[in-house]
């Protein structure tokens, strides 16, 4: 650890588990004029200390809402936590109010957002935006806070931090602003960093840089990272475990190798197939998953992927498949895993061989 932490009295008594965050059957809906949108319909996953988990899915599947509802950042007039439990380091924080969450936010868990251009207050200097969080959670002098802000800027790779502390956000590019966001998020050395599509609005080179930075910082600060993305391509080098989300539910979870080499859910197959690969013939059409996700105003009773699944069975229409363990932490929710289902040879592209895994995936 680099910083000395001040533990608040209530947090001294905590259960040391491998799992620092556990989400069970989370249900979250939005009440709109047109009815209830069931954004999350029963999501369960966990994070272990200092690991990196990626939550992958297409737009609208509920991945942002999931992490925002964990930190209780989703606006609760239209939004509503319907059910489930969130357990952080042994404590049930599901029903925590704003006051209690304030103690956690920034200090135990923090978040960076998708659009760096709008995520910073345009009328406040960068340095102050970083030290604000520090001052909230720790009693330190302004001078000490300033020093730490300078250090953090250096950590995230911003040169000449002493001068940059006094600058305003509009002077920076997207990549730089995202770095500042990361500095803000790390200011109090949180245990979990939620990264909500942090690279989606950046160009490819900057994307790689930011991901590298995050990896590096993860080791430096010894924290867990939850990376939300719709881009499977960036996930292989970054995540230790992957959860695939579809239509408000997690359809498959497992270690990265399992997902890439032994995926069991037809949606995951579709995702893997549609990642463009070097070496494919130019005349080959890029495979896509036909159709669109189901309407969350009236979520389907059965499997959410039914309408678009190549391998659907009669049972899938009316019955939502339970989460089945395949082996050692690899879970998938699909009726194909049931012993009564016919066995099939899935069509999907194996990314190189298992030996070469992790070296040069894209």
């Amino acid at each position: 650890m680099r910083w000395i932490r001040n533990y608040e009295a209530e947090w001294e008594i905590f259960v040391v588990t491998e799992k620092i965050l556990e989400v069970k059957n989370l249900e979250f809906s939005f009440d709109t004029y047109a009815g209830e949108v069931h954004a999350i319909r029963g999501v369960s996953f966990h994070i272990n200390q200092s690991e990196s988990l990626a939550i992958v899915g297409e737009s609208g599947c509920g991945k942002s809402v999931t992490v925002q509802s964990i930190m209780k950042l989703a606006p609760t007039p239209p939004g509503r936590l319907k059910g489930g439990r969130i357990v952080y380091r042994g404590r049930d924080i599901t029903n925590y109010g704003d006051r209690q969450m304030e103690k956690l936010r920034g200090k135990e868990m923090s978040m960076i957002f998708q659009d760096p251009m709008t995520s910073l207050n345009p009328t406040m200097r960068i340095g102050r935006q970083i030290s604000e969080g520090i001052k909230k959670h720790e009693k330190i002098s302004p001078e000490e806070a300033r020093k730490r802000s300078v250090k953090l800027l250096k950590e995230v790779g911003i040169s000449d931090p002493d001068r940059n502390i006094m600058r305003y956000p509009h002077m920076y590019s997207g990549g730089m602003r995202q770095r500042v966001m990361i500095a803000i998020a790390l200011a109090c050395n949180p245990k979990i960093l939620f990264a909500d599509e942090p690279t989606t609005s950046l160009d490819v080179t900057t994307q790689a840089q930011i991901l590298e930075l995050m990896n590096h910082l993860k080791r430096e600060f010894d924290m867990a990272i939850v990376l939300i993305t719709h881009n499977l391509g960036i996930v292989a080098r970054f995540a230790e475990r992957i959860s695939v989300m579809y239509a408000g539910k997690i359809v498959e979870t497992g270690k990265t190798q399992d997902i890439f080499y032994d995926p069991r859910h037809p949606y995951t197959w579709g995702l893997l197939n549609s990642v463009p690969a070097v070496g494919k013939k130019r005349t080959e059409q890029l495979p896509t998953i036909k159709g669109t996700p189901p309407d969350l105003f009236m979520p389907p009773k059965g499997c959410g992927f039914y309408d678009r699944c190549e391998y659907r069975m009669k049972v899938c229409k009316e019955n939502d498949p339970p989460s089945t363990e395949i082996e050692g932490g690899h879970f998938a929710s699909c009726w194909l895993l049931d012993q009564r289902a016919p066995s099939i040879e899935p069509y999907f592209v194996k990314r190189h061989s298992k030996e070469n895994f992790g070296k040069d995936v894209i």
Binding site: G106, K107, F113, L120, N121, T123, M124, E132, G133
Partner: protein, 306 residues
Amino acid sequence: MVRYILRRFLISLLTLWLLAAITFFLLRLLPGNPFQSDQILTFEMQERMMNYYGLNRPLIEQYFTYMGNLLQGNMGYSLKYTNRTVNSIIVRAFPVSADLGLRSLALALPVGLFLGIASARKRGKAVDYLCVVISVIGVSIPSFILGSFLQYIFALRLKILPMAQWTTEMHKVLPTVAIALGLLATLTRIMRASMLEVTTQDYVKTAKSKGLSEGKIIWSHEIRNALIPILTMLGPMVASVLMGTFVIEKIFAIPGLGLHFVNSITGLDYTMTMGLTVFFGAFLVSANFLVDIAYGIVDPRIRLAK
């Protein structure tokens, strides 16, 4: 920032020039000869008018004479108060109007902003509806009607406040409220909209994710950014307060500049009208310019630009 200020300054100057030119030409377009209308002018006064306006000279010369006079701050003589210059009237009456205007602003600004913030935060609840009702009514009822009502209720019926004139503190209450209410209504509406817009911004979410308390978020992040659009409206607000003084001074018989202006119109005192128009124009343009500077300072995007 420098470039910004220069630009605003140039525009202000051009505006003033435009106004002066307009009044010059309008004076010559007035039906008939203003100096031979219903007024019975003595020979000396006619002489004075001729000299001041150079009406015997060619138009171009008249124009330069006029402009020259204006630049020196000389705005001629009143047709009605025959021995007094427009300037002397301005010097006497302006402080009164300024007093009224400042009080109205001092009342309307804090209350309006506060109500706007309150109704945005408690959106959909009782406070919000109340504020929306107040602001809609305040916008729909012209200030002179409101002023008359206030007079009727508080002065005539309840007899707790004086009816007219501008002598004691008690006298100053009703006119101030009459002007302030309309402004307050607009302010509440705008501040509410601005706050609502700011609250949905991403940086508010960032602030929340740091664990900052709600009060701190509202103060340091939301209000600061919500005030910026309000600042741009400050200019028009001052203008509307000015307009308000015209009618309120008439209703409450307050010896301010607005009253003189209105009387000059009904009394066909053209020189007074023109002179006062130029004065008001200059006043408002300067006020707008000051607001522009303030805006440039507050918004760092402008302040730090080259």
